[in-house]
Assembly symmetry: C2
Homo-oligomer: 500 residues x 2
């Protein structure tokens, strides 16, 4: 039955057992795998490789779109196969190995990985492992539930292994829009001028002779788990929607707003869901992922079109999608992450970007990645692509974490992913800080009064007051800038920094 | 004799004494002035306004392209007129007022100011004061030695005051290419596909009825002073050119390299001059400013075309330009800074970006703006526009400053303008760190061994060793991360942090 899905007869002979395909991967190779937020990832080969590692020592450099299923990164980490990993990950086992210095993780803006490959600034891809729903008459690869970096991986790779996944519906064909920017310096403008622009092909055009092996798979995508919305996430959504209502009132935005971008995760998902019950209409989305909440927005008639590079769905939402795929397909497109996250397109469309901060400081600098300034959480992902180029760059976070022991707003962030220049709005459940057009001293006041949790507010006022005495455009007391972080590291509670 | 330069007869009656024109500017207004790196700035009105402040209390928000002549910012600061200033400045008097919290300075990416104005995210421009070389038959404004933000200021402003400068040669007409992106969400691609693309008009198209006053000026642009190249700047240039030669050898670049961008100042100027004696040829430049060294490159036949938003020249170089203007004009274009610095174009052209760091850290994070993490030096300028989007982002700095009391490479930068994700190369006179594709722990080793001054190297190794013991993707000892800065603040010498 896989025969219907391989429409180029000459490729039929490439179907091999997984072990044979895995044999193409040798020690020291750079491997590009499909997969973005667990969707459309290679599901068969990783397990085979991990097994092989029990009897053979080898290491690979592993590139993906973004996160893949935990079991994949986890399995490969435990097997000791990963020498180098980029551009994003989300698995606890791998995270531990990265923070121990055992795996060299290169944290990258998600739009940049294939640009670096194209310019030969990274080691070239030896083998691409790409999950596909079908292969066309001309040998084109029809992707499944994510595009990610798969198109460029396949185009750059010396050899391609296809995981033909029979559990992925054939209706996926036509959902993808594969457009690859030409090599510089003779590049033309990327012709995307609206979220629903279609500018490429519905499959990856590759030289079919590069397809070295096809393995048959029937494993479904792993669903994501999503924390439920709570009072805090709802309050964050409420503040942001109130702000946007006022922007409409002030004439800065119309009721269609601007194309929305929203990061992955519970807070961002809750914020998006907040749009189902609002006066805005004919919304569009130009984002990295299509999350559960997008389906609510489509069904409520609020959202007319969503562009992304992948789905990121809970099980019930996967069921919802595939129960009515043709309906949803009319409202959606999946693009290469280079295009979904491209600075050129983001700036042109003028996005409202909403991403989650790990911590932020009183001047609006944002840390998206490093716990305590040192330990990698997941990676910067697409947040930098969007923050640097959006019309309205918003970061959201609950004001406290770990039962109140951590303030997400600190005197100085322990790691900077997004400098204050790029941050327009900061929102916690406490309130919203509109930082547009403000100097640092003005920013500090707004952030302290609007965003900091009451438990930390007085201490933050004290810090700022002492800093201002020293003067400067961006006042700080360097000896105390990290005192909250240090207290947390030593005592497990930031509050110990000021309440002895 | 100014009559030849006002080619629309109905505007002749708008010529007024400067005091009359200055009367249009009222307390609380937002004023947009022409000027970028001292070139093409308004030269008459500022002095009149400062004089008026002696008898009348008023304040304005002042926007420019970038830095203007020190005498202007200095005069207006001393007169107490500036409430708010953006997006860049370079004057010591103003700097002092900013660091004392007396002037609210909003440090912005130079490509973004007019985008924010267009989206009404900043207070709108009441009056634009624009230096012009001529006014066309249709009332279009022909600019002088910079474009900067002048075009959008004039287009957005309620009223325009022209400073018609008779000392600026009329041959300037035709040098400028004024292209303004359309308002979002219906924006098309910016059609610049090469440094020499001409896509706009040679003048600013404005409704002539907005031209409220014309004042006649004959003051020349203030020349810049440039520190001489020395052994260190020459060594930096040498390291970078050796690196580029190797890139050509490795097949990553051709002998035409890629369009060059170079920041303002002595180090960047020395680096550019280094290209006059190299195997590369048919070079192009897509940059913010045309500096002295560009003329050497043009005359040596190395550089075929330079695109920028302004000249930034010493007196001898101004003389050189105007002695042979028609020749140089064939090799140059001046664009709005929104276009010279636009992420879309920077990414498309694939620039080699070379900018100066104030300090950098072992992981490649760069501080361009804040001395000791608190005191503003000049502003981020265009460095963020270029760093985030270039093909090869390079930061250069001498490894030590203040006679060796300051290490420009520190354990952790005290302020982050450019996160490590955006930094490919770090170059000091000690050597070059190629950070591409490296994880933080690998970056640290290369930066410490290649870039840190020998006086600080052992102490840096010790810091890093202690940090690694604590673990993490980006190891740090937060209690000691700023110890060098703190020692400098307390003793005037960073070395006191480790040599008691």
């Amino acid at each position: 039955m896989y025969r219907d899905r391989i429409r180029m007869p000459s490729l039929m002979g490439k179907v091999v057992p997984p072990e044979v395909a895995a044999g193409l991967i040798k020690d020291g190779m750079t491997v590009g795998m499909s997969g973005f937020t667990k969707s459309g990832d290679a599901k068969v080969l990783p397990a085979i490789l991990a097994e092989r590692a029990q009897t053979e020592h080898f290491k690979i450099n592993l590139l993906t779109g973004a996160s893949v299923s935990d079991e994949i990164d986890s399995l490969l980490t435990k097997a000791g196969i990963i020498a180098r990993r980029m551009p994003y990950m989300g698995d606890p086992t791998l995270r531990k190995a990265i923070n121990a210095g055992e795996v060299m993780y290169v944290d990258q803006h998600l739009s940049e990985t294939v640009e670096l490959l194209r310019a030969k600034q990274l080691a070239s891809i030896d083998v691409a492992i790409i999950e596909a729903a079908a292969i066309t008459e001309e040998g084109g690869i029809v992707l499944t539930t994510s595009v990610g970096n798969s198109a460029s991986f396949a185009i750059f790779a010396e050899k391609i292994i296809i995981e033909l996944n029979l559990s992925q519906p054939t209706e996926l064909e036509g959902l993808h829009d594969i457009y690859i920017p030409s090599r510089r310096p003779y590049r033309e403008a990327i012709p995307v001028v609206a979220p629903n622009s279609r500018v490429g092909t519905p499959f990856i055009p590759v030289d079919p002779s590069k397809i070295a092996a096809i393995v048959i798979s029937d494993r479904k995508d792993n669903p994501v788990k999503l924390e439920k919305a709570d009072d805090e996430t709802n309050a964050i959504a409420g503040h942001l929607i109130d702000f946007l209502k006022n922007e409409v009132k002030q004439g800065r935005l119309g009721n269609r707003l601007a194309p929305l971008q929203s990061g992955v995760g519970a807070v961002a998902n809750a914020v998006l869901r907040g749009f189902t019950d609002c006066p805005f209409h004919d919304l569009t989305m130009y984002s990295e992922v299509i999350q559960d909440s997008v389906f609510d927005l489509v069904d409520s008639g609020k959202l007319v079109f969503a562009s992304a590079t992948a789905f990121s769905l809970t099980q019930s939402c996967w069921d919802r999608l595939f129960a009515d795929f043709e309906k949803y397909k009319r409202h959606m497109v999946l693009r290469p992450q280079e295009i979904s996250n491209h600075p050129e397109v983001i700036r042109r469309l003028g996005l409202i970007a909403i991403n989650t901060a790990l911590e932020a400081d009183i001047y609006g600098n944002v840390n998206s990645t490093h716990v305590g300034g040192t330990h990698m959480m997941n990676g910067i992902g697409g947040s930098g692509d969007f923050a640097g180029n959006a019309y309205l760059t918003t970061f959201v976070t609950k004001s406290v974490a770990k039962g109140g022991a951590i303030s997400s707003i600190v005197p100085m962030v322990s790691h900077v992913d997004h400098p204050e220049h790029d941050v327009d709005l900061l929102v916690t459940e406490q309130g919203l800080a509109d930082l547009r057009g403000l100097a640092p001293r003005e920013r500090a006041k707004v952030v302290i009064e609007n965003c900091v949790h009451p438990t930390f507010r007085d201490a933050m006022r004290d810090y700022y007051k002492e800093a201002v005495k020293r003067g400067g455009h961006t006042p700080h007391v360097l000896e105390k800038a990290f005192s909250w972080h240090i207290a947390f590291r030593e005592t497990g509670d930031m509050r110990k920094a000021f309440s002895k």
